[in-house]
Each structure stands twice: as structure tokens, then as C-alpha cells.
Subunit: 423 residues, 2 copies
């Protein structure tokens, strides 16, 4: 036991005590806490921006990439956006208390399976300070205490955000220990979160592949793996070009930096207008990594050759998160299925076809969290699927698969009522 | 990479290929496979008993405890019992294809959340050869391939059982690779199962605390923790003695060696007939580990003092799995809740009371997989709760909590149908 280990466990123990009270809190009280948080973030925007400025300046000094600096930066508008997202949680139904299943057995036992909070949720994430608020508020609405470990790049911002949220929940009679950070313990704090089995009920890593894989491998606390997306779009021979082109363009370019963006395009060899798709991708600024057949088609379509490269074996497994796309020509839907099963990260795959048989074959053959038929991969998103706010997209098979919202931050318990029943 | 690692991964890869076909198998075909297994076990009972005899003889030579020898032993009757359990699975509804949630969104996207098989399930268990058949058949009905690692004590029995099951599923056109064992690789085989992330989708340890904890800590494959039960019964002041006594006796003595047996009894100080319960327990052969007040009550009731011991701090955490019980007197339901939250393994707790307020307080205060009001702890069981056969009782909060049946051996996937939808 190190001092950090003791300190993290002490925080988790306080969190557990807070969670024990929070699990019985009414929906009204939890919503009041969310409203207080939203109000406080806006009221203290100046203080938040000042702290954030220190992080941004340090980031620039340390040579952080521009895109990361942008994600890190908070201004009044962004803070209002964060506060609005918190207010949207108020409108969502409380998952706690939902009777998932209930029946009276022949012997008269009344059996109910009821949603209850997890307890203490740990969250390890990177440089986006909005995640600090998102994660704490989703956990709170689901009746959980939360222990946060944000990236050191957002350290000053997170100190202020956590302090404001603790104050806000306390103002409505919820223990401040419901929201805590282990940031002051640095990397060791993260490591201790992963070791705190029995103290923390669930650990959610959110960030790049490296972070997620290291948490998955090192943690003895149950983990939910989120958000690595090597998503595919397959265009069948019979696909309507009027659907196929916009679906490919939207899947790739609508927001290339997120996990439900497509990274690989597979075209059936008999699809009539492959050149139009490849040229449109290049015109949208996408660098294509093509097999030889696809390259021929792109060149014949007059795509700017500066954007054409030969695909490598590694490309098929790449999550570019940028305007790059691997492109291959396949002989059949079976070949497409085989390719995707070999290379997919299990996030989202899309097919464009007008054949029920082909669509069903493709859907049945996938082993991914989501399959889209004639729709963009970008719809794998809690809000888009009508599920409400999400804490991440799970690409694992246990507990949560796909968008993880409030329900996935709860567990269930069996409640059985008898009248002196024995076996 | 060791040779064993390669061998286990090769088996898992074959299992994955088999699972890819199995996920599309009809319920009828899976049921035919189960019927063929049941029939084969009975038809080859002589061969199974002969192999089992070698295990039993070796067990006796190695000084295995009598209870373990009993669990290990198979005769024609027990084999019929195992075959009957397999036939019972045929009647259970197929979880695969169940639409868990479905809706059409305002934009016209048709969204369904559908149950699909996990893929490859690994199972690490101890000396009971019936688990070999149970686990393989539950996994099969849920559309999964299974990799088994049984205890070395049942080695010879398991070789025959696995060979018969592989033959049986093949006879109905399902790949024999759907059921395989890594027993020939000994302990290293178990270790490699735990390391085979990406090859195995779910690992279920079933056995004693030591086995389960070591799998939970070492495995990088997602694990479901099963079956450690330090279950409590709390008798409130107003409990009806006509209910309280049989519930305590049933919870403790009906089958003391299983995880839903009660291990601790907490009595409210004002419950009118504590002596009758304590004497009845002793008369049923239960050794009591009592706090000083409870000891006084037991002695006053004339309980045989040979069965009375002073409780130690360790007793409160003990899963005796035997005719022993820790007994304490508490001042209130709040004290009972505090005690149970400190010592429970999160399996099952029971209360006997006639007060709605007290029952609700107790139920809300527990953080366990099941809470019984006026019923025996023994009802936490898949069959008893009307859920069908179970592969274990989960005491963790992720994915499955309480009895794990067929549905818990599946995952879900999102299937979204559009008509060219983009964001």
C-alpha cells in the first residue's frame, strides 16, 4: 500500500458512503442538483475560463497539437453548451427504480428485477474538460458517486469544475463526496483507480486506443471498453447510387475525428458508379488508400492523384480519425463480411443495398455493436438513436454494447416477497 | 507465446469459426443437438461410469475429502439426471433474436436492439463433471461455442463427456468445434484462457472463492464473478415466529453447501422468541458462533452447549458452506443494514418482518443481488425464480446480477434500417 493507494481508497470510501445516500435520493433531488450545477457553471464562467487559460497556455508551451488545444479550450459559449447538456439530463427519465421484469410465481412469490445504482463509478479520460462535467452528471442522475481522473493537460480547468460541482450538489443537500477527483495524484491516481477493486464498482476509460487498452489490461476493477471505431461501409452491386454516395460521404466526412466515422469503404465489383464515390471523397479532401482495382477506378474517374495511395495491410486495421479512408473492391457480400469480421473493431458497419436477402445476410454476419442498413455509420450515437445522453460507445459485449446512457450506469437487483416461503 | 498459448488460441479460433455458423442456427437445430447429447449420455453411461471410476479411485488415493468424492462420482442415475437437465433446456425459449427494444424514430429510422450470441465462452471450474455438460449445453442453446477447463480431479470423466458431446452435435450438423476442452494443457491451459483476449468473449469461473478470485484478478478476458455467498437473515422485532423459525432453518439447513445458504443470523433485541430459533438450529446440527447476548439466549433456551461458540470478527465474513452459523443481536433494522453492508458478499439477504416501512428500508439499504422479504435465501436460484437453468449466480454488478441463465450468455446488437439516412 502506497500513500496514494490509501488516499484513493479513502476517497472511494467517502464516495461509497455518499452513494449509499444517493441511491435513495428522489429524481427531483437529483434534478435539482443538475440544475444547480448548470447554473453554477454559467455563473462562474469567468473563473472557469481563467483556469482554462492556464491549461491552454501550458499546452501551447508544451507543443500540444492544434486540434488538442481546440478540444481543451473553454470560452463562455462552450461553457453554456456544457451547462445546456447538463440541463438536458434533467428531462431524461430516471433509470433507478425501473422494474425490468416482474412476475408472481405459481407458489405465490412476487418477483421483481429492479434497476438500482452501480455505486461508485470511476472515469479515466483525456484532455477534454467537458467530459469532467458530462461524466459526473450522468453518474449523478443514475444515482452514482463518481471518481474522476482527467488528463493532466486540463488540470487547472478540472480543479475548478470539480469544486463548482461539489458546491452545487451540496447546496441541494447531496454530499459533496458524490463527486471527487484523483487528479492531484497524477498517473499514480489513475493506476490506483484500476486497483481499487471492492471500492469502485465500474471503471470507464474514455479517450484514445492507447489509454483504453492500458486500462482494459491493467484494471482489476470491472471495465467497460469504449469507443474504438474501425467502421466499414459496404456498397452492394444493387445499391442505389443516390443513397450510396451521400451515405459514404456522410459516414467519412461529417465528423472524421469521432469513433462512428467510417474508416474503410468496400465496393462490390459490379456496383455501377464507384468512380463517382471515389472522386467525391477526394473532392471532399479525403486521402484514399486503395487496392489496385479501386485505384484504377479512382484514376479513371479523374480523382486528384495527390490524394491516392496504395493500401497497405496495416491500413485495413487503422482508425484514422482523420480524412483518410481505405478502399477495397470485393467480389460478393460474403467477401465483404469476411473482410469486416477480420478487421473490424466491433463498433459500427453499414451496408447499402436494395436486397432484403443481402441486407439480412450482412446483418447476421456482423459481430459489431451496430449495423446500419441504408444509413450512415454516424447514427451510432445515444442522442441519434433516441436514447439520450451517453457516456461513451461500448465496443465490448458485456453489460453495455453501443451507446452507454443512464441505464448502463445502473445494475439490477432481485426483490422477492413471500409470506413465509421456504423450499 | 508458449506452445500452450498457441494451442489454446488455435482451439478458440476454431471455436470462433464454429460460433459464426452457430449464431445463425435455428432453435430447432440447437434443440436437436441438445436431444442428441442427452440421448448419447444415457446410451454411453457405461463408458462414462468406467472413466469416472478412474477419477474416483485416483481421488481416494490422493486423499480427496469425502464430500468432494461424492460430488465427483457419477453413476447411471446421476447420468440420467444430467441428461434430464439437458432435455429441460430444450423447453426453454431461445434467447437469440429477442428484440429487447425497438422503435421508429421521428426521422424514419427503424431501430431495434436484438439479442445475439456472445461468441466463444470460456468456463473454468472444479471437480464436478456435471458442470461440463451443463455449461456446454447452456452455451450451445444461447448460440455460443464453449471452451472448457475442468478440474484435473475429473479429467477422465471430462474427456469422455466432451468427446460424446462433440460427436452428438456433429450428428445434427453442428461443428464439433462448438464444444472443446483445454484440459490436456493442465493449469497452463487455464492461464491461457485468461490471456486469450480477443479470442474468448467471456470467461466464467465456477467453484470456490480461491478459484474465482484468482480468475477475476488474472484474467484480461472479461469475467463474470459467480457464487460467493455470505448470505444473511435478519429477524425484525415484529416478525411472526411462525414465519421466522422455518425461514431461518430452511435458509441454513436445506442445503448448507451451496451459495444461497444463509451464514449469518441477526436477531432484533426485541424479537420475542429468539431462543426457539437458536435451539432449533442446534437441534438441526448447526454449530452457532454467537455474540455474548445471543449466547445467553441460546443457553437459556437449553441449546446443547457443545454446539455453542463465541463469535470472532472473522466469523462475520465467513462463507461456512456447512452447518455453522454466526449469530448476533442488533438494536434496530439500521444496525442490521450497517452490519450486512459491511460483511455481505452481495449475494442474498433476507428479512422477516410484518412492517412495510421496515421491509422497504431494509430492501433499499441492501447492495446485494437479491433481497428476500419473508422468504428463504434459498430462492435465489434460476429455477426457483422462474428463469430456467442457470450457469451460476453472479455477485457482480456488470452484465449479470443474480442467477445467470440463457439471456446472460448473450449480448445485444443495434440494428438500424434507413432509406438513405445521413446526418
Amino acid at each position: 500500500m502506497t500513500n496514494t493507494s490509501d488516499a484513493v481508497r479513502a476517497l472511494a470510501t467517502k464516495g461509497r458512503e455518499a452513494a449509499q445516500v444517493l441511491r435513495a435520493a428522489s429524481t427531483g433531488q437529483k434534478n435539482d442538483a443538475l440544475a444547480a450545477i448548470a447554473q453554477s457553471l454559467e455563473a462562474n464562467a469567468t473563473e472557469i475560463v481563467a483556469a482554462n487559460k492556464l491549461d491552454v497556455e501550458r499546452g501551447i508551451e508544451n507543443g500540444l497539437a492544434e486540434a488538442l488545444i481546440d478540444r481543451l479550450t473553454l470560452d463562455e459559449d462552450r461553457i453554456s453548451g456544457i451547462a445546456d447538456a447538463v440541463r438536458e439530463l434533467i428531462a431524461l427519465p430516471d433509470p433507478v427504480g425501473e422494474v425490468v421484469m416482474g412476475r408472481t410465481l405459481p407458489n405465490g412469490l412476487v418477483v421483481r428485477n429492479v434497476r438500482v445504482p452501480m455505486g461508485v463509478v470511476g472515469m479515466i479520460y483525456e484532455a477534454r474538460p467537458n467530459v469532467t462535467v458530462d461524466a459526473a452528471c450522468l453518474a449523478l442522475k443514475a444515482g452514482n458517486a463518481v471518481l474522476l481522473r482527467g488528463g493532466s493537460a486540463a488540470e487547472e480547468s478540472n480543479i475548478v469544475l470539480v469544486a463548482l460541482m461539489r458546491e452545487a450538489v451540496e447546496s441541494v443537500g447531496i454530499s459533496a463526496d458524490s463527486i471527487a477527483s484523483v487528479d492531484e495524484y497524477g498517473r499514480e491516481g489513475a493506476t490506483e483507480l484500476m486497483r481499487a477493486r471492492g471500492y469502485i464498482d465500474l471503471l470507464i476509460p474514455r479517450g484514445g486506443t492507447g489509454l483504453i487498452q492500458s486500462v482494459v489490461k491493467e484494471s482489476v476493477v470491472p471495465v467497460i471498453e469504449t469507443g474504438v471505431g474501425n467502421c466499414h461501409v459496404y456498397i452492394n452491386a444493387d445499391a442505389d447510387p443516390e443513397m450510396a454516395l451521400p451515405i459514404v460521404i456522410n459516414s467519412k466526412t461529417h465528423r472524421p475525428g469521432v469513433c462512428n466515422a467510417a474508416e474503410t469503404l468496400l465496393l462490390h465489383k459490379d456496383y455501377p458508379e464507384p468512380g463517382a464515390i471515389l472522386k467525391a471523397l477526394v473532392d471532399a479532401g479525403v486521402t484514399l488508400h486503395l487496392d489496385s482495382e479501386a485505384r484504377g477506378l479512382a484514376e479513371a474517374a479523374g480523382a486528384d492523384s495527390a490524394y491516392l495511395r496504395d493500401v497497405t495491410e496495416k491500413d485495413w486495421d487503422e482508425e484514422y480519425l482523420a480524412l483518410h479512408m481505405a478502399v477495397g473492391i470485393v467480389d460478393s457480400v460474403d467477401d465483404a463480411i469476411a473482410h469486416i469480421r477480420k478487421h473490424s473493431s466491433g463498433h459500427t458497419e453499414a451496408i447499402v443495398t436494395d436486397s432484403v436477402t443481402v441486407a439480412n445476410k450482412f446483418t447476421a454476419g456482423m459481430d459489431s455493436a451496430a449495423v446500419m442498413v441504408n444509413a450512415s455509420t454516424r447514427f451510432t450515437d445515444g442522442g441519434e438513436l433516441g436514447l439520450g445522453a451517453e457516456i461513451g460507445i461500448s465496443t465490448q459485449k458485456l453489460h453495455a454494447r453501443g451507446p452507454m446512457g443512464l441505464a448502463e450506469l445502473t445494475t439490477t437487483t432481485w426483490r422477492v416477497e413471500g409470506a413465509g416461503h421456504v423450499r
